[in-house]
C-alpha cells in the first residue's frame, strides 16, 4: 500500500520531470531540482513503497542514497540500465554512496556479479558523466575483492647490488689503489689537477665517486658530485646553476651568497675564486659523472673556463668519469684540459677484492661451499657488476632453500643468466661493429670451455671457412682483437700473440646466443639489403668499359705491331689466324685486368671510383682466385654483349651476315635483362652478378 504522502510527492516529481528537460551533465540544475525530494526521503526511517514509474523509482533511489547502509543493492544494480537518464543518475549516486559500506560486499559471489554488472553498464552508458562515475564505482568495488593469496613472506634484503651505483660504504669493495692515486694527486697540489676515470660501463666508476662524496679522500677535501645525465639537453645556465648550488651546499651554504637563478661564467668565476681562497689548505674536488654529456656545453666555452679555473687555483681538482673515449671530443680547450689529466682505467677487481665482494656482504646470512667463490671469480674475472649480479642471483636461490650456496646453485645461476642476460651485456654487444662481433663470436667458439687462448690467424682461417661475408684477413683480425682488448672484452696473453675472453660468463653467452652462423646469416641479409643503386653500378661499369677498351686497343695494337706486320708479309693466306691473334691480344689484358682487380681489391677501377665493391651473395663462398676468374669471364662477356649491342644498328644498316645479326639480337636481350635485373631486382643483382654469385654493395657497407 502506497503511503498517500509518498504518492503525492511522487506525483509532484512526475509532473516536475515532465516540465523540466534535465540531463545528467546539468550538475547544478539537477542538484537543485532533486534537493527537496532528497530531503523528504532522508527523513523516512524505512524504504518507501513507491509507484511503479520513473518518479517512484527515483524516490526509492534517493532513499537508498541517503541510507547507504540499508540500500537494496540488487535493486540498485537492476536500475543501473534503466532507460531514463535521471533514474540512472540516481542509481549511480546511490550505488556510489553504498559502495563504501560494509554490507553485502563480503559475499564474493554477489560482489563478482555486481562488478560484472557495473562494468557492463559502464561500457554501454551513453552519458560520459555517468560512464565516468560508473568506472569510479567499479574501481572502488575492486577494493572489496579479497586478497587471493596468503600474505607474502617479507622479502629478505638481498645484500648484493647489481644495477644502481653502490651507495653504502659497507657494500663497496676494492679500488683502494684508485682512491689512493686520486688522494695523492689532490693533496700534492702538483700540476696534475684532473683525473679522467674511464672504463666500460658498470665497472664501478659512479660507486667510486659516491665513496669520494662520503669522504673517502679525507676531511681536507670538499667533494661536489654532478650527474651529467640529469643535465642532458639542458641549457648552459642550468649546468652553471646546478654546479654553483651543489658547491655552495657542499661548502656549508654560506649565508652571504645565494646562487642566482641565471648565473653566467663571471658569477661562476667570482664564486669559485672567493670560495677557494677561503678554503686555505682544503680543496674542492669537482666530479663530473658521465662526462660525455659535457660535450654539448663545450661550444659555449665551458672547457676554457674550467681550464682557466684549474690553472688559477691550486686547491681545485676535477674528476671526469665516463665510458666514451675522450679523444672523440674535439673541443680544443677541453682537449688541453684532459691532456694534462691523469688517466685511470677502471677494470676488474683483484682476486682478493672480488672474494671479499662475494663473501662479505652476505656474511651471517649465507655460507659458501668450498670452491664457490673461486668459481664465481673464474666466471667473472672480478668484474664488479657481473660478480654482484651472479651473487645477487645466487643469494636468491640459495637463501630460499638452505643457507649454503653450492656449485650446483652457481650452475643454476649461470643458466638463468644465459637465458635472461643483463640488458647491459646485450647493449654492450650491440654496440660492436659487424667485424668485431664476428671476431668475438669466433673467439668464443674456438676458445671453448677449456679456455685456450686463440691466435688471430686461427680466427681468420675459421671465419673464412664459415664464409663470413666481410674481408677479415689476419691483419684485420689482429686490429679488431686489439680494439676488443681496449674495451676489456678480450685479453692478450703475455707470452704469445693469442687472445681469450676476459670473462668466461660473457664468453659462454656469446658462444651460445651470438653464434657465428647467425651473425653470418644476419650480415649476409644486411649486405643484401644495402646493395648499390642502379645508377652507381652502371656508372662504375661505364668507366670499366672505357678502361677495358683502352686495354683492348693497347693490347691489340701491340700484338698487331709486333707480330702482325711480319706475319702478314710472310703468310698473307693465314690472315684469319692473325685476326684471331689480335682479337685475343685485345681480350687477354681485359680478362687479366678484371680478374686481378677483383682478386686483389674486390673491385674494378670503376667500382673503386664510385665506391662500390663485390661481395659474395648469401650462400656463396668467399672470393677465391677461381671465383674471381669466373667473374672476370662473366664481366668480359658483359663487355662483349655491350659491344655487340653498339654494333647492332650498324649491322642492320649495312645488312651484315645473318649470324652477326643473331649475335647482336641475343646480346640486346641479355643487355636488357641485365639492366632490368639491376634496376628492379630484389638485391639489384645483374645477370652476370647473379651467375657469379656476388652482390655489388657500397664500400661503407663492408666496413669492419
Amino acid at each position: 500500500m502506497i503511503d498517500p504522502r509518498i504518492a503525492s510527492v511522487s506525483q509532484a516529481l512526475e509532473a516536475a520531470l515532465r516540465l523540466q528537460s534535465l540531463r545528467p551533465e546539468d550538475l547544478e540544475a539537477t542538484a537543485s531540482f532533486f534537493s527537496p525530494f532528497e530531503r523528504e526521503m532522508s527523513a523516512l526511517p524505512s524504504p518507501p513503497v513507491v509507484p511503479d514509474n520513473a518518479a517512484g523509482t527515483i524516490l526509492r533511489l534517493l532513499w537508498c542514497k541517503t541510507h547507504p547502509e540499508n540500500a537494496d543493492l540488487p535493486f540498485l544494480l537492476n536500475v543501473l540500465s534503466d532507460s531514463s537518464p535521471m533514474v540512472r543518475l540516481h542509481a549511480v549516486d546511490a550505488l556510489s554512496a553504498a559502495v563504501d559500506t560494509k554490507t553485502n560486499w563480503t559475499d564474493s559471489v554477489f560482489l563478482n556479479m555486481a562488478r560484472e554488472a557495473v562494468q557492463s553498464v559502464a561500457h554501454n552508458e551513453t552519458s560520459p558523466l555517468l560512464a565516468g562515475q560508473l568506472a569510479g564505482v567499479s574501481e572502488r568495488l575492486n577494493r572489496w575483492a579479497r586478497p587471493r593469496r596468503q600474505t607474502h613472506a617479507r622479502v629478505v634484503a638481498n645484500p648484493y647490488t647489481a644495477g644502481p651505483p653502490v651507495r653504502s660504504p659497507k657494500n663497496f669493495f676494492g679500488r683502494s689503489d684508485v682512491l689512493a692515486q686520486i688522494g695523492t694527486l689532490v693533496s700534492s697540489g702538483g700540476t696534475t689537477r684532473a683525473v679522467v676515470l674511464h672504463g666500460a660501463r658498470r665497472t664501478g666508476k659512479s660507486s667510486l665517486l659516491y665513496r669520494i662524496v662520503d669522504g673517502a679522500l679525507g676531511q681536507e677535501v670538499v667533494p661536489v658530485y654532478l650527474d651529467m645525465q640529469g643535465l642532458a639537453g639542458s641549457p648552459l645556465k642550468s649546468l652553471l646553476r646546478v654546479l654553483l648550488r651543489l658547491t655552495w651546499q657542499a661548502l656549508g651554504s654560506e649565508p652571504d651568497y645565494v646562487p642566482s637563478s641565471e648565473p653566467d661564467f663571471s658569477e661562476l668565476r667570482e664564486y669559485f675564486d672567493a670560495a677557494l681562497s677561503r678554503l686555505g689548505n682544503r680543496s674542492i674536488v669537482l666530479m663530473f659523472d658521465e662526462y660525455e654529456v659535457l660535450e654539448t656545453f663545450l661550444a659555449s666555452g665551458l672547457g676554457g673556463q674550467l681550464q682557466s679555473l684549474l690553472e688559477s687555483a691550486p686547491n681545485l681538482f676535477i674528476i671526469f668519469a665516463g665510458s666514451r673515449k675522450l679523444e672523440a671530443i674535439s673541443d680544443e680547450a677541453f682537449s688541453s684540459l684532459v691532456d694534462l689529466a691523469r688517466y685511470i682505467k677502471m677494470t676488474f677487481l683483484s682476486r682478493a677484492e672480488a672474494t671479499r665482494l662475494i663473501t662479505d656482504p652476505s656474511h651471517g646470512m649465507l655460507d659458501f661451499a668450498s670452491g664457490v667463490p673461486e668459481r664465481i671469480f673464474d666466471l667473472t674475472n672480478g668484474h664488479p657488476f657481473y660478480t654482484q649480479l651472479l651473487c645477487q642471483s645466487l643469494f636468491e636461490i640459495a637463501s630460499s632453500t638452505s643457507r649454503v650456496a653450492t656449485l650446483v646453485d652457481v650452475n643454476e645461476v649461470v643458466k638463468r643468466f644465459l637465458q635472461n642476460p643483463a640488458p647491459h651485456l646485450v647493449l654492450s654487444w650491440n654496440t660492436l661493429r659487424a667485424g668485431e662481433a664476428a671476431v668475438g663470436s669466433m673467439l668464443a667458439l674456438l676458445q671453448g670451455d677449456m679456455g685456450d687462448a686463440v691466435e688471430p690467424a686461427a680466427i681468420a682461417a675459421r671465419l673464412k671457412a664459415e664464409r663470413f661475408p666481410l674481408p677479415l684477413k689476419v691483419p684485420a683480425v689482429q686490429r679488431i682483437l686489439n680494439t676488443l682488448s681496449h674495451s676489456d672484452w678480450v685479453a692478450k696473453q703475455k707470452e704469445r700473440n693469442a687472445y681469450r675472453f676476459t670473462m668466461e660468463l660473457v664468453r659462454r653467452w656469446v658462444a651460445e646466443e651470438r653464434p657465428i652462423a647467425s651473425l653470418t646469416a644476419r650480415q649476409e641479409l644486411e649486405l643484401a639489403s644495402r646493395t648499390a643503386s642502379y645508377m652507381r653500378q652502371r656508372a662504375a661499369w661505364a668507366l670499366d668499359v672505357a678502361v677495358c677498351a683502352v686495354l683492348a686497343v693497347v693490347g691489340a695494337t701491340i700484338a698487331g705491331a709486333v707480330v702482325g706486320a711480319a706475319a702478314i708479309a710472310a703468310m698473307t693466306d693465314q690472315a684469319v689466324w692473325l685476326i684471331w691473334l689480335i682479337w685475343l691480344s685485345a681480350v687477354l689484358p681485359v680478362f687479366a685486368y678484371l680478374s686481378s682487380a677483383l682478386w686483389f681489391g674486390e673491385a674494378t677501377v670503376g667500382m673503386k671510383a664510385f665506391r662500390i665493391q663485390a661481395t659474395p651473395a648469401p650462400g656463396h663462398s668467399l672470393m677465391s682466385i677461381r671465383r674471381c676468374a669466373w667473374i672476370a669471364v662473366l664481366y668480359a662477356l658483359r663487355l662483349v654483349t655491350a659491344v655487340f649491342v653498339v654494333l647492332l644498328p650498324f649491322a642492320l644498316v649495312l645488312e651484315a651476315e645473318r649470324g652477326v645479326l643473331v649475335f647482336g639480337l641475343v646480346a640486346l636481350v641479355l643487355e636488357a635483362l641485365d639492366n632490368v635485373m639491376i634496376w628492379n631486382g630484389e638485391r639489384r643483382q645483374g645477370l652476370w652478378e647473379k651467375l657469379g654469385g656476388i652482390l655489388i654493395v657500397p664500400t661503407e657497407a663492408l666496413r669492419l
Binding site: 640488458p423 635485373m677 630484389e682
Partner: protein, 347 residues
C-alpha cells in the same frame, strides 16, 4: 535484476583487481627482491603473456612483500603516443600527485624534482611502474636526453622503476638507438613466461569455485590440453567451459563445444605466436606435430622456455592439441600471382 552467475574468466587485458590475479609467485619474489635492493626492473616476455598484469600485481602485493611503506604509481604510456616531453612530464607529475598526495607548484622538469623531493620527504618510497614503455621510446618527440634525465632522476631519488614493454625480446628493445644511452644499464630483467602447472591449475579451478561451480579433473585436463599454460588461453577455454557448465544440461558435448569455441577465439592469438617464433623454432614445432619430437635441442629448449612445448608428467608435448591442425593453414599464406611470378623470376 535476474540473478545470473557472472563468468569470472573475462579477462583478456591486464588484470585490474587483486583477487583476479593468479600465480607468478617466483616472478613477484624476484621483482620485490630487486626493488628492495633499489634496483629497477624490466619485465621481459612475449606479448599477451601477462606482463601488464604482473606490473599491476606489484601494486597489489607491495605492502605484504616490502617492509618499507611505499607509494605505487602506475603510468600506462599508451596514451602518450606522439606527445611532447612537456606533456609526458605533466602526466608523470599528475599521476604521482594522484597516487602519493604530494603536490608541487613547479612546472616542467622542475616539477619532477618537486614531486620527487615531496615523496622522499614524506618518508615513503615510490615504485614507479610504466606499462608499454616502447611507446615512449618510439615517440619521435622524446629525445634520448629525456631518458637520460629520467635515469638520473630515478637514481638520485632512488625510486625503482618497473617497466613492461610490448616487445618481448631484449635484442629488439636495445636495437633502438635511444637505448644507446646508459638508460637500460640500470635494469635487472625478470622473465615472464607461461604459468607453471600448479599456477595454471589454480587459474582453471579457483575462479569457477568462487562462483560455486566445480570443474572436474577431466574438464581441467581439457582446458590445459587446449590452452597449455598460457594465462590468456586458459581464460578463453575456461570462459567457454564455464558458460556451458552454468547453463547446459548433461547431454551437451562439452569437449567438442569448448574446443570449437576456443578455436574460434584463440586461433588469431595462436597464429600471432607462431609468427613470432624463429625459423628453427617453427621447424621444431613442425617436427613435434608430425614426428612427436625434434633433433634441434637448442630450439626445443627455447620452445620449452616460451611455453610452446610443455613438460607434463615427465613427458613433453605441444602446448595445445589444436596446434598441429592449425599449422598447415599458417604455413601456406596466400600469395598474389604477381608475387609468385616475381619470386620465380628473382629468387
Amino acid at each position: 535484476m535476474k540473478r545470473v552467475v557472472p563468468n569470472p574468466y573475462t579477462n583478456r587485458a591486464a588484470v585490474l583487481a587483486r583477487d583476479q590475479f593468479f600465480g607468478r609467485e617466483d616472478e613477484l619474489s624476484d621483482i620485490f627482491t630487486r626493488i628492495h635492493g633499489g634496483q629497477s626492473v624490466l619485465l621481459m616476455g612475449d606479448r599477451r603473456i601477462g606482463k601488464s598484469s604482473l606490473l599491476r600485481a606489484v601494486g597489489f602485493e607491495r605492502d605484504d612483500a616490502l617492509e618499507d611503506k611505499s607509494h605505487f604509481v602506475l603510468i600506462d604510456l599508451q596514451s602518450l603516443a606522439g606527445c611532447t616531453e612537456d606533456t609526458c612530464i605533466r602526466v608523470f607529475v599528475k599521476e604521482i600527485e594522484a597516487a602519493t598526495g604530494v603536490r608541487t607548484e613547479e612546472l616542467g622538469r622542475a616539477a619532477l624534482e618537486g614531486v620527487a623531493e615531496g615523496v622522499r620527504d614524506s618518508g615513503y618510497r615510490m615504485i614507479l611502474a610504466m606499462d608499454e614503455f616502447d611507446v615512449l621510446v618510439w615517440n619521435e618527440q622524446i629525445s634520448p636526453e629525456f631518458l637520460a634525465n629520467l635515469r638520473s632522476w630515478t637514481a638520485r631519488y632512488r625510486f625503482p622503476l618497473v617497466l613492461a614493454f610490448r616487445e618481448g625480446s631484449i635484442d629488439r628493445i636495445v636495437e633502438d638507438e635511444k637505448f644507446g644511452s646508459a638508460f637500460l644499464n640500470l635494469f635487472g630483467t625478470v622473465y615472464v613466461g607461461p604459468f607453471k602447472e600448479t599456477e595454471a591449475q589454480e587459474l582453471v579451478r579457483r575462479p569457477a569455485l568462487d562462483q560455486g561451480i566445480t570443474f572436474s579433473d577431466e574438464e581441467v585436463d581439457l582446458v590445459l590440453d587446449l590452452a597449455g599454460y598460457f594465462p590468456l588461453f586458459i581464460q578463453i577455454a575456461c570462459y567457454h567451459l564455464f558458460e556451458l557448465k552454468k547453463t547446459s544440461s548433461s547431454n551437451v558435448d562439452i569437449e567438442g563445444t569448448v574446443e570449437r569455441e576456443f578455436l574460434f577465439e584463440a586461433a588469431p592469438h595462436m597464429e600471432y605466436m607462431w609468427q613470432r617464433l624463429t625459423e628453427p623454432e617453427r621447424q621444431a614445432v613442425l617436427d613435434w606435430s608430425r614426428l612427436g619430437g625434434t633433433h634441434d635441442s637448442e630450439a626445443q629448449q627455447q620452445l620449452l622456455r616460451r611455453g610452446v612445448l610443455i613438460e607434463e608428467r615427465r613427458a613433453l608435448r605441444l602446448y595445445s592439441r589444436v596446434v598441429p591442425g592449425l599449422i598447415n593453414k599458417w604455413q601456406a599464406p596466400q600469395r598474389s600471382i604477381s608475387q609468385s611470378v616475381k619470386d620465380a623470376l628473382w629468387k
